[in-house]
Assembly symmetry: C2
Homo-oligomer: 345 residues x 2
């Protein structure tokens, strides 16, 4: 039984994973690419269908001046989960791959790790042993891989890693494993006066170094889990030191809190893919006025992965059960998306 | 000896205040208004002088493409303190006036307050008695006036109060007591591709209801002190409940932390007026590349107030002592500003 880490405490925890996921393939997208695209089609990688129609209809509604549904540009706030919503999260969260590589990279400075769990387990690939150390073990791994350095140093570590790391089965840089149809939604919303934010359970400083380049979302519009920081000045040089303590777990009921801390008003559109996004969708869509909620349902075992209720990554149960009642749009990845990744266009 | 609250714990604490401040007057601005303004002058309420020149020079430097000092628009982040930098903070912080009024408004629901400190002292105007209750008393006042309700309810309370409250000596709504020269700086920076943020020791949810209307700064660009929140759903209605616990004190060394949490990169320009802004100025201006720091020095006892080293509100000691060494611009309010408030134009 494979074991991977899933999210909690703002970064990662260990969990035994089911094998509900389909195989990953790197075969090119199907031949239908672009066949439905109309001239001027804002969402060319989306097949015609209820999901595409719902997105277009919502944006038309809120941008039509003089109607009761009109929302002025300042109120056009859209929030997006990251893992599984904007980029792939299988076979493990990208940040977990970073953590595992980081432990290996730091191991020469820590000879004691060879005999000490949870590091011993990470170095030997014995994930059961890592899982056995529980939450305390996770906190030790987070402290060792995410804390102690400064924000500038951590940004460099993340950037360097992303510049060389490759997805274990697709063999491509992780930043190429973003969803082309969602990039088009981001562009389409921004072209219609929306401000787009990421609201992720992942670490905020793990995302900020690359979100502007990859998604067009600047650092100040990225909300995520975070550890504590302390301002310090040494020899006249100020720095923000990253500390081994969790400050915000931006997941589940933590997402509306993270949204309010950073944005200060309720979004009118939310996009997610797992039950970690439920409260964000609920908070966004339960206020008055036009609201939009969307769940990316991973149904494509051939082109991406298929997983939902039984998966420990991107678990999706309540979202599926309550989407209809809540008026949320559920994207059937296999049916609705012509391509998955930008390089398949 | 008058006693007022000064900031700490993200909101307010009590402190005995010196009487170093000059009297407030509501006499119209001097006759020099606009006399120096050139056609197309971006800062018409600023007299010609080193402060105005420094602002204009900095903005020209970073916006000139093809030069080494050029900063692309995405990096043009400017941060502004609020109390004493964008609006008046004498004879007491506006948020303190709110707190005192709020205790009075809530008193009928709390008959026990008539006999119970620190509320008894607030109701009777006995600020010495309030001060005697120390930090515990302050926490009780914050809990009673800022917590317990939802974010939506608190926003309404703040908006209603600001709609009717008047400055004790100037007799005007507080939102009219903003500094016209600083409004021009905000506009000038934004016209040159800057994103402007507030970074205040005051409560973030106390500012967000009005900063967009008054400063052109939307809620998501307001950083401030905050209390904890909890997401809750009652009878199908989600809400964010404000809790009696401090989450961030966005003052002094807390300002760079608040900046990093919300913005995720270092600003290139910072504007403050007190030693509560020292670390924000230091963090902003100590990195490589063109940087700008500015301190508003309250030197105008006739048109506004004059205070610095000996004042418990807006204490300014280290900022004055180290501004020269750090290359920060110090605004002499009396000499540099043609008018103080927008209604004096």
């Amino acid at each position: 039984m494979p074991v991977v880490m899933t999210k909690s405490l703002g970064v990662v925890v260990l969990a035994v994973v089911t094998s509900a996921c389909g195989p990953a393939t790197d075969r090119p997208a199907n031949a239908a690419v672009s066949s439905n695209a109309q001239p001027g089609d804002a969402l060319p990688s989306w097949n015609e269908g209820p999901a595409k129609r719902a997105i277009l209809d919502f944006v038309r509604r809120v941008t039509r001046e003089g109607t009761t549904d009109f929302v002025p540009p300042s109120g056009r706030i859209a929030v997006f989960d990251n893992d599984g919503t904007l980029w792939a999260e299988q076979p493990m969260y990208v940040q977990l791959a970073f953590v595992l590589d980081r432990v290996k990279a730091l191991a020469p400075q820590h000879p004691e790790w060879k005999q000490k769990q949870p590091f011993k387990g990470v170095l030997e690939g014995d994930h059961q042993a890592v899982a056995a150390t529980g939450e305390q073990g996770i906190l030790e791994i987070i402290a060792a891989t995410h804390a102690g350095n400064t924000t500038d140093e951590f940004t460099k570590v993340v950037s360097d890693w992303l510049g060389s790391a490759k997805h274990p089965t697709l063999g491509r840089p992780y930043t190429e494993l973003v969803y082309q149809p969602m990039l088009e939604v981001l562009d389409y919303l921004r072209a219609n006066g929306f401000k787009t934010f990421i609201v992720s359970g992942g670490g905020v400083e793990f995302m900020r170094p690359w979100t502007e380049r990859v998604y067009g979302i600047p650092p100040e519009q990225v909300i995520g889990s975070r550890i504590r920081m302390r301002y310090e000045v040494k020899d006249g040089n100020p720095a923000l030191r990253r500390l081994a303590g969790v400050d915000l777990v931006d997941d589940k009921a933590g997402k509306p809190v993270g949204i309010q801390q950073a944005i200060g008003r309720r979004p009118i559109a939310a996009f997610g893919n797992s039950d970690g996004d439920f409260e964000m969708l609920e908070w966004t869509t339960s206020a008055s006025g036009p609201r939009f909620g969307l769940i990316v349902h991973h149904t494509d075992a051939a082109r991406e992965w298929a997983y939902d209720r039984a998966s420990h990554i991107g678990t999706l149960i309540r979202g599926l059960d309550e989407a209809g009642r809540n008026g949320w749009t559920v994207v059937d990845m296999r049916e609705d998306w012509k391509v998955i990744y930008p390089w398949q266009k």
